[in-house]
């Protein structure tokens, strides 16, 4: 037993308890979210062509570059390998229209990281979801390219490239649910295929990166609020399944609204937040001037998060209210 050190005291760590840590850390979580988006990326390439890969790469590249540059200017530690900038870039690309200009993509990416995240102090301090901030900016700056949709590769009916929501809003046409489920419809890169989004989203819920309460509250809200109008007039208003599958709902519910930093921290708060988002989505979709409202609904509720946290304190064990 000669090789065994019997007195390793000089190199022992003396931190206080707990002495062990769960397997989760920030970096791992970010990478796992990125991995869970692979099905959505595949669906984008499948339905809209290989060019979409360029949008994704430009978006990721400019997000990482912007973060590194701002950190360098502020003389802070460069934190790009925590994976959060990569994730923002990927998320932003997946909510842009197919064949979107690469220059505009880059502008959106710089805005997302610069104004959406770094201006607040970087990871953990931002109020709004950075990818949605980038998209909101592009929507305001370049409204026409942001609403020009490509006909998906396997479209049976190539007469219209409108998204199901626009078709409903402006022509009162309801798209076929099975095409919406697979993703064979007009829409943003990663938002069209419900199947691909669900694969990634369910994985994230299973590994407990995404708290199930937010998507559950959003789905329940859309079914209830959308359902009320559908029951009132099923010819005028779409059914709840359409609401669940259309536009950015699933992508928003599983990947955008569930962003750790910009969603509530209390279990009760997550329910309120999810229900608030879905109520706003229904209002915009049915009565607003725009066909889709997921982005604005999430951004609006992001702003309410500090207030929600404040008023949803959990019950202290043993305390009677």
């Amino acid at each position: 037993m000669a090789e065994v050190s019997t007195n390793p005291i000089y190199r022992l760590e003396l931190t206080s308890s707990p002495h062990i840590h769960s397997e989760w850390n920030t970096k791992q979580a970010m990478w796992l979210v990125a991995v869970s988006l692979i099905p959505a990326v595949i669906s984008a390439l499948l339905f809209f062509g290989i060019y979409q890969l360029m949008i994704i790469l430009v978006s990721i590249g400019f997000c990482i570059g912007t973060e590194a540059a701002i950190k360098a200017v502020r003389k802070r530690q460069i934190t790009i390998n925590d994976g959060s900038a990569l994730l923002t870039g990927l998320l932003l690309a997946l909510i842009l229209p197919p064949n979107f200009s690469l220059v505009f993509t880059a502008i959106g990416a710089v805005f997302a990281i610069g104004v959406g995240k770094e201006i607040f102090g970087g990871l953990g301090y931002n109020i709004f979801n950075p990818a949605l901030v980038g998209r909101a900016f592009l929507q305001a700056a370049f409204p026409v390219p942001m609403t020009t949709w490509l006909i998906p590769n396997y479209a049976v009916d190539s007469t219209s490239s409108a998204t199901p929501l626009a078709a409903y809003k402006f022509d009162n046409i309801f798209a076929d649910a099975s095409n919406m489920f697979l993703g064979n419809i007009g829409g943003s890169l990663g938002e069209t295929s419900a199947l691909a989004i669900l694969i990634g989203g369910i994985f994230l819920i299973a590994v407990k990166i995404v708290n199930w309460r937010v998507p559950a509250a959003m789905a329940a809200g859309v079914i209830v609020f959308g359902g009320i109008f559908w029951i009132i007039n099923p010819f005028k208003y779409p059914n709840p399944v359409f609401h669940l599958l259309a536009g950015g709902f699933l992508f928003g519910a599983l990947f955008m609204a569930t962003d750790w930093v910009t969603s509530p921290i209390t279990p009760k708060g997550m329910w309120i937040y999810g229900l608030g988002i879905s109520a706003m989505i229904i209002i915009v979709r049915l009565f607003g001037g725009l066909p889709e409202g997921v982005m604005y609904a999430i951004l609006f509720m992001n702003a309410c998060v500090p207030l929600i946290n404040k008023f949803t304190r959990p019950r202290i064990f043993g305390e009677v209210k």
């Binding site: 760590e13 062990i20 769960s22 791992q28 953990g124 969603s263």
Partner: protein, 448 residues
């Protein structure tokens, strides 16, 4: 989602168990060491007063320090030998404490107390025996057991619950008590119930100890008064509040004790010590502990004379591997990291763990990501990330309003935090400051 309807509490975490390292090793009695260091304070309360002086000769089992005041216990010698000195020695708690140092004469002379009859011992006899045997709670806090057996007159105790959760990873001591000393565990519980005049007893065991549950259930088959509860394996299931909630569904309000909901909780090890003291006349001079972790050559479950140094225990287990980074006394969630292996094993020592880098899994802290995992995991319904922030900003008034003093420092929040923020460490700091502040404001309030 699969609904788990098993008895438990809300929140908590499930760390990797690591129990398999020592699960199959029966207790092994370690040989008596050449010298023991016996601290005069191995319990919560007033330290005992030494009765011996230098060069005195003592036998194993002889009282060498007597209790001072009510919340105190006597201390016995664990070996026969000669008193070498009484002075401050390193202690597993971190700071040196007064201790009696005894050098062995290798004569193995032992002085036991008179044996009592299991079925005819009266409540007063049991209580007095528990006090004389110097028994302290084996759950970690080392509260004198006879004090718990003497509740205030106006309190009505309805239940005695034995805590067989052993929710800390690695530790298998209580598991082996239940397997190897099944009768002593149940006998101890019945003696405790008799001492308290209580008709109902329960044993709560986490469901990762299937064999123990079976063995205890089998032995309790004809006991009408004892119920065996299989509880969900989850940390901190063994915390008093969580255990009472899981077994009886009762919630202990903040700042209150199990007594306030009519319950007395005892550890499995305490029940065995009570049984040994009453039936075998044995004072508490031996500690049962698990030596485990990826950094020890041969993990074991040991019976060690109190006062044996950590170094001797580690050597007995083959020594420490080169990749060890931490040595802990107690469990990995609430134990104390050690820096001096001269520190002795005490009455309530439940384990020595030697951990490697991989098991510790430490990495740099990042800003809070507001994921809410600490809030979901906190078994007491606190918001650790918010409280830690208040402590960092020295906003102790806000911390007090957000009930920082409720925290029991179980470490669940720090364990689960993906940003690796030392949450419970900040909460401890904030809690201390708040308690100090409260004392300054109300000097008439003394510590309970």
């Amino acid at each position: 989602m699969i609904l788990n309807l098993k008895k438990t509490f809300k929140g908590g975490v499930h760390p990797k168990e690591w129990k398999e390292l020592t699960k199959n090793f029966s207790f092994e009695a370690m040989p008596k060491p050449k010298q023991v260091i016996i601290p005069i304070s191995q319990h919560i309360g007033i330290p005992a007063k030494p009765l011996v002086k230098k060069k005195d000769r003592v036998k194993a089992g002889e009282i060498i320090a007597e209790p001072e005041g009510f919340v105190s216990v006597p201390i016995h010698s664990s070996i026969s030998g000669i008193i070498k000195d009484i002075h401050k020695e390193p202690n597993v708690s971190g700071s040196p404490k007064d201790a009696i140092i005894i050098e062995s004469d290798f004569s193995d002379e032992i002085e036991m107390m008179e044996k009592l009859n299991f079925s005819s011992a009266t409540p007063d006899q049991i209580k007095e025996r528990v006090r004389l045997a110097g028994i302290v709670g084996q759950g970690g806090a080392a509260f004198p057991t006879f004090v718990k057996l003497t509740p205030p007159r106006d309190v009505k105790i309805e239940y005695v619950i034995l805590n067989g959760c052993e929710c800390e990873p690695y530790l298998t001591r209580d598991d082996h008590y239940m397997l190897e000393r099944t009768d002593a565990v149940i006998g101890g519980l019945k003696l405790i119930m008799r001492a308290l005049g209580v008709a109902k007893g329960a044993i709560g065991i986490e469901d990762n100890k299937k064999t123990s549950i079976d063995k205890i259930s089998e032995a309790c088959k004809n006991e009408q008064s004892v119920q065996v509860e299989s509880l969900k394996t989850k940390y901190p299931q063994g915390a008093e509040k969580m255990l009472v909630k899981a077994v009886l569904g009762r919630e202990i309000p903040p700042g209150k004790l199990p007594l306030d909901v009519g319950v007395v909780i005892q550890n499995i090890g305490t029940a065995v010590a009570v049984y040994d003291a009453v039936v075998n006349g044995e004072p508490q001079i031996t500690a049962a502990l698990t030596v485990s972790g990826g950094g020890i050559i041969s993990p074991k479950n040991l019976l060690v004379p109190i006062g044996t140094s950590i170094q001797e225990v580690l050597d007995y287990c083959g020594g420490v591997k080169d990749n060890a980074v931490k040595v802990i006394v107690g469990g990995p969630m609430m134990g104390v990291a050690q820096y001096d292996f001269k520190a002795p094993i005490m009455k309530a020592t439940s384990g020595i763990l030697v951990l490697t880098d991989k098991e510790v899994n430490d990495y740099p802290e990042t800003p809070c990501l507001k994921c809410g995992k600490c809030i979901e995991a906190c078994p007491l319904g606190l918001e650790p990330t918010k409280l830690a922030r208040y402590a960092q900003l020295e906003r102790f008034g806000d911390a007090e309003d957000a009930k920082i003093t409720v925290c029991m420092e179980c470490g669940t929040c720090t364990f689960t935090c993906p940003a690796n923020i030392p949450l419970v460490q900040w909460l401890r700091y904030g809690k201390q400051k708040v308690i100090k502040m409260q004392k300054q404001k109300h000097p008439e309030l003394t510590e309970c």
